[in-house]
């Protein structure tokens, strides 16, 4: 197996999952992942592959988020179409969709740094790697993660509670 193939096989799934969670769009995530691997191919040496790949992907997301307003509008349009099409979905699918929507809202409620730290940690990056990617001290990663996890859980619970409240009002 070549270096290229090994790199791709080892990290592609994790990178795409990280990006999908970050962006909420699998196609977009695949694009960013592709671009990340292409950049890796242009490197002669990578000392820490995983850290490098996630750092580049994170930076690409930042860059795109700044400049690609048009794509975001496209995604908003897709989301609107999805909502319109979501008429008679099976219960399980609906439940999952709502769960995912709550999770998305909760994640979006986090500060960017907290969100990044959380997603990177979920993909198994260690504290020094996370610190390097986010440009923060290693000693502050634990605090960042503890805050992120608490806020995520609280925001998720708040979403669920708000939805239950809306359902209650609709029923009465």
């Amino acid at each position: 197996m070549s270096d290229t193939e090994r790199l791709f096989t080892t990290y592609h799934a994790a990178l795409v999952r990280y990006l999908t969670r970050r962006l909420g769009d699998r196609d977009w995530a695949e694009d960013i992942a592709q671009e990340t691997f292409l950049r890796a191919l242009r490197q002669e040496h990578l000392v820490n592959e995983r850290s490098w790949l996630f750092a580049v992907a994170t930076n690409l997301v930042r860059d795109e988020a700044r400049r690609d307003i048009r794509r975001r509008r496209h995604l908003e349009l897709l989301a609107a179409e999805e909502r319109e099409a979501q008429v008679e979905a099976p219960d399980v699918t609906m439940e999952r969709a709502l769960d995912a929507a709550d999770a998305r809202h909760a994640l979006d409620a986090l500060a960017d740094r907290d969100r990044q730290a959380l997603l990177l940690r979920e993909e198994g990056l260690d504290y020094p790697e996370i610190a390097e990617i986010l440009g923060i001290a290693v000693g502050s990663v634990g605090t960042t993660l503890s805050r992120a996890r608490r806020r995520l859980a609280e925001a998720y619970e708040a979403q669920g509670a708000a939805r239950a409240q809306r359902g209650h009002h609709a029923a009465s």
């Binding site: 290229t4 695949e30 979905a89 909760a106 979920e122 998720y156």
Partner: protein
């Protein structure tokens, strides 16, 4: 007793503290109820976070209109994917095959539709990354009860994070990510860089995704696909940048050696034909059953060589232009 430090506790649960610091936290957790309670809560938060994030991996089925779920810009012409497969071979794949049709003689007849059909690739690609993280599956409670997180037993608390990682912390990635090797990774040849064609690389990656989504392929099968595609006619060449008229023409000679054995003296082979980017070589003398096929890029010609008619037992080779021996 110091007040519980939440950041420190999360670092401990994540197994990210140095041994002495971890031991200190462990003692505090074992002896101070406030620390024990804080750890219990932190465990709940860690598990809850993993479960919440795993929910983002579920793409609702049947609620997104088919026509809008993917972007048209991702459609690629078939030849791009074929050329992309060629690039993989150039990248110096370790070629170990058991069954492969001889690309010298049967290039196109055995091409799999999935390689050539862009629709299949586009359709199947997302499935490659669908699996939710294992940690999420392990620790997925029905609801998120942050305040009601069960307090672990003293036994559990006193264990180091590594022993309780399965429930406590997502220390392991969803798919086991190996520790990167300490040695620098050489991804490209050190030769002067040729202009990079990103579309080729993109297609390569897209094809890799599709291939892995399509079925579980063994490295041998992967190589087989590459080899088969490498033998197919490439109608449009985009990776010929480094090839010279001298080295590409039929009749030119190359010294071909095992890519994994730098000391290998190799064998001089003659280019018997060219097909797109691919040069097909046969030995000048001696083992006439030898066949090699290489692609020139970035100052080196790389490919595979086999002595068997069905390309079984092919080895990766590097070829360099050489003077043809006198007849």
């Amino acid at each position: 007793m110091p007040h519980p430090d939440e950041g420190l506790i999360h670092a401990w649960l994540d197994g990210q503290l140095p041994p002495d610091e971890a031991a200190r936290v462990e003692r505090l957790v074992a002896t101070d109820p406030a620390w024990a309670e804080a750890v219990a809560e932190a465990r709940g938060l860690v598990a809850a976070s993993s479960r919440i994030l795993a929910a983002l991996d579920h793409v609702p089925a049947g609620v997104i209109p088919q026509g809008t779920a993917s972007r048209p810009a991702r459609r690629l012409p078939w030849w791009t994917k074929a050329a992309a497969a060629v690039v993989l071979v150039v990248g110096g794949s370790v070629v170990v095959m058991q069954r492969a049709p001889d690309p010298m003689t049967t290039p196109a007849a055995v091409q799999t539709p999935a390689i050539l059909n862009p629709t299949v690739i586009q359709k199947d690609a997302p499935r490659a990354v669908q699996a939710p993280p294992a940690i999420a599956r392990q620790s997925a409670p029905a609801s998120i009860a942050v305040a009601k997180a069960p307090r672990p037993t003293t036994d559990a608390l006193s264990k180091p994070p590594a022993a309780t990682a399965a429930v406590a912390a997502p220390t392991a990635p969803a798919e086991a990510l190996p520790v990167p090797p300490p040695a620098p990774l050489a991804l490209r040849s050190a030769a002067p860089a040729q202009p990079t064609d990103d579309s080729i690389g993109r297609a390569t990656l897209a094809r890799d995704v599709a291939r892995r989504a399509k079925r579980d392929v063994t490295p041998r099968e992967t190589v087989l696909e590459q080899m088969v595609v490498a033998g197919m006619p490439a109608k449009k060449s985009t990776v010929m940048g480094g090839v010279s008229a001298f080295s590409a023409r039929a009749g030119a000679c190359y010294g071909v050696r095992d890519a994994n054995v730098p000391s290998d003296a190799g064998v001089v082979m003659r280019v018997v034909r060219t097909d797109g980017d691919t040069l097909f070589l046969e030995p000048m003398q001696g083992r006439t059953s030898l066949r090699a096929w290489v692609i020139w890029r970035d100052g080196a010609a790389r490919g595979a060589m086999s002595a068997a008619p069905d390309a079984r037992g092919a080895v990766p080779v590097v070829a360099t232009p050489a003077a043809c021996p006198a007849p």
